[in-house]
Amino acid sequence: MQPVREEVIGGLQRFRRLIPIGLVLVALGLLVAGCGEGFDLEHTEHQLNFWGVPHEPWRIGPGPFWELNPNTLIWTWVAMGISLLLGIVAARGANMRRPTKLQSMFEMIFEWLRGLINEVMDPKKGAGIFLLIVTYFYFILICNLMGVVPTLEAPTADNNTTFGFALITFFMIYIWGIKYKGMKYFKHYIEPVPVFLPITIIEDLAKPLTLAFRLFGNMKGKHIMTVALLGLITGTMYWAGGFLASVVWLAFCIFISFIQAFVFAMLSIAYISMAVAEEH
């Protein structure tokens, strides 16, 4: 009896060592099956459109420019709603002595961003852009995180959104530059010699462009990767939809969302502070 039993146990133990290899093989098989079935981003996106968001753009005027992306706008409004709701809830429970959790979170963001602004520019000049920067960070974070929720989409995965935000920074650079330096602000374009004019103009244009594309690229990439992972294995999102890989990726997405929101806010601070700095 005894030797037979030991043999069985030994066999099981050898088998146990094989389990991970087996799992990897199964996953690979599913992957190959998925790849064989073909990977169609549009198809998966269509399947993910759980809320029935219209695909065709809304036309508000003649020409290709006067169109609105319903997908982006609807999720932007949802993100605005969430932002406002969280803000209202935090403000309603605001207490000087015993701050609520949401309130503490907002206060942390306030203190942190105020510190960042005061580090690079005169606090008096920085006070004017403080709330803009806070809203950048807060709203972009909410938008980015919406991309992590299944069936929702990040409004920041649309280049129109990121360019819209970046244009606000672009205008703020000029507004703040003129506000604190007057017409002398434009002198730095031809300093030390007028030959630099084209370079400084390109530099100015590059600022919003890089801001917008950095955020857009990250978020769009995140979105495509998420959808691809959902669509890749077995080809359908309905069963075994790339679950493990998807979870790992989504966890990483949360990190990216924070980093990108922070980078956008931080670079906006840097650009505006450069415009108002006394010495170039």
Binding site: P57, I60, G61, P64, F65, W66, E67, L68, N69, T72, L73, T76, W77, M80, S83, L84, L86, G87, I88, A90, A91, A94, N95, M96, P99, Q103, F106, E107, F110, E111, L131, L132, V134, T135, Y138, F139, P155, D158, N159, N160, T161, F163, G164, F165, L167, I168
Partner: protein, 162 residues
Amino acid sequence: MELKFNATILMQMVNFLLLLVLLRLVAYKPLLKVLEERQKYVANTIAQAENQRAEAEKIKAEYEAEMRRAREQAQAIIERATKAGEEQALNIIAQAKAEAERLKEGALADIQREREKAIAELRDQVASLAILVAGKVIKEGLDVQAHERLVQDAVKEVAQLQ
């Protein structure tokens, strides 16, 4: 996939600015107000605490000075009392001695007086006895035996007087 720019870009700018204004109204203002209130409160509390500590230290110093003074006074009082007590004890002893002396003198005087009285009494009685003896002698006509007896009686009587 090509990038399409359309009016969404304007819409998003409007959305963002709208959100900024709304958030400023409903969230940022009250939250920042609370933040400022807390900062003010903390600053006030710290200032108050510092004031109170300074005051407490002042009061402590006062109390310590007062304590020291009180202790010194108490010490003085105790010393004075001790000295007074010793003096009183010495007085009492001296008085007692004087009293004892007085009593002793009185007693000695009494003894002397008694002795003198006794001697005087004895002298009186011896005199009267001598007279008595003399009377008897005269009365009984003296012979030798009678004389003998007489003397014996007198001695007996004297012995009885003792």
